[in-house]
Symmetry: C2
DNA sequence: GAAATACGGTACCGATCGATACCTTCATTA
DNA sequence: TAATGAAGGTATCGATCGGTACCGTATTTC
C-alpha cells in the first residue's frame, strides 16, 4: 500500500508521544516501533514537527469518535460525557489529553502543533454544543464552553489522582450547572 | 553568598522552563541566563532533574503566596480566586501552570518532579479548604477539590483562549456550585 | 598569612538529536 | 520483460544533549 508506511508512523507516534511525551521520543524510536525506514519517514513528512501535527489530528479524530460513540451508547445525555471519561481515567495507560499535552510541549502558540490541538478542542466544543442543544438548553453555546472547561479540568485532575474520582467530581459540578438553570426548554 | 549561585539557577530555570518547557531548555541556556559556571551547577544539583524539582517547589511557593495575597486583598471570598486568575491569564507571558506542565513533561508519575508538582496542587487544595471553611461551607473538603478542578480547567482553557474569559467562566460555575448548596452555615 | 572554600571558564566526554544521502529489494505497470 | 517507484537498511552529517574534569581566582576563615 502506498500510504501504509505513513499510517504506521502515525500510529506509532500516537502511542509513543502520548506515553512518553513529544520531545522525549526520538525519530529512531518511531522508526523501530513502526518498522519504517529512515528515508521513508522523510518521504512522508518534511520533519518531525510535521508528524506531530498529523499525529494530534489523528488522535483528535479518534478521540471525538470514541466520545460520540460512548455518549450515544449511554443515551445522549450531556452528563454521560463524564461517565465515559471515568472509564478512560481508570486505565493504567492514561496520560491525560494528547491535545493539552501538545499545547504544553509546543510552547509557541503560533506553532502548527499548537494550532492543531486547539482545533481539536474546538471540535469537541462544537460536539458538546450539539448535545446541549438537543437536550433543550437555551444557552447551549456558553454551556458547551463550560463543559469543555470541566472536561479539561477533570483530565488534568486525573493526571494526579489516577482514578475515576475526577470524572465523578466534574459530573457533580456539571449536574449543578445544568440543573440550576431555568433556561431549559422541551427537548427536541 | 554561599547559595547565591543556586538561587540564580533556580530563578533562571523558573523563567526558562515555564516559557519554553523543561526538555526544551538545555543546561547551557541555564548557565548563560544565570551566569553560573558549569561546575557550580553540578556542585549544587546532582542532575538537571534535581534542578527541575527545586524549580517546581520554588514556583509553587511563590504561586501560593501570590494567590493568598491576591485573595486576601480582595476580602477572602473563595470566588475571588478566579478574579486573581483572570489577571494572570491576561499576561502575554502566561503559559499555563508550571506544575501541570511539569506533570505533562515528566511522564513518569513516580518521578520526583511529578511528585513535587502534585505536592504543590495538594497545598493549593489545603489553602482552598481553609478559605471555604472560613466562608462557612460545611463540606469544605469536597468543595476544595472541586474548586481546584475548576482552577486547573480554567488554566488549561486559558492556554488556548489567551484572555481572561476562562477565569470568568470558571467563576460563573463556582458561583452556581457554592450558592446552590444548602450546606452553608454562619461564617465564623 | 596560610588553608579552605566557592566560584566562573573552558575543554572535553560519550550519547543522542533531527536530517540527508545512497544502497538494495520488491511489487507494480507499461 | 524492462522500467518505474516506493519501500527498508545503513552510513554519516553537524549540532546539541547531560555530565565530568581541571584550571585559575576571589573570598573567607582560622
Amino acid at each position: 500500500m502506498a500510504t501504509d508506511a505513513r499510517n504506521r508512523l502515525v500510529a506509532a507516534a500516537e502511542g509513543l508521544f502520548y506515553a512518553e511525551g513529544i520531545r522525549a521520543v526520538g525519530v529512531d524510536q518511531l522508526l523501530n516501533r513502526s518498522g519504517v525506514g529512515r528515508a521513508s519517514f522523510y518521504r512522508h513528512f518534511a520533519s518531525k514537527d510535521d508528524l506531530v501535527v498529523a499525529t494530534i489530528r489523528s488522535y483528535g479524530t479518534r478521540w471525538r469518535r470514541w466520545l460520540a460513540d460512548e455518549v450515544a451508547a449511554r443515551g445522549g445525555d450531556p452528563l454521560t460525557v463524564f461517565d465515559a471519561l471515568a472509564d478512560r481515567f481508570a486505565g493504567t495507560e492514561f496520560r491525560g489529553c494528547a491535545a493539552i499535552n501538545t499545547m504544553v510541549e509546543a510552547a509557541d502558540p503560533d506553532s502548527p502543533a499548537h494550532w492543531a490541538a486547539t482545533e481539536h478542542k474546538q471540535s469537541v466544543i462544537d460536539y458538546l454544543d450539539g448535545l446541549l442543544s438537543a437536550a433543550g438548553h437555551r444557552d447551549h453555546a456558553a454551556l458547551a464552553e463550560k463543559l469543555m472547561l470541566l472536561v479539561d479540568g477533570a483530565t488534568v485532575t486525573a493526571l494526579r489522582r489516577r482514578d475515576r474520582s475526577a470524572a465523578h467530581d466534574a459530573r457533580a459540578i456539571a449536574e449543578v450547572l445544568l440543573s440550576a438553570r431555568s433556561d431549559r426548554q422541551e427537548p427536541r
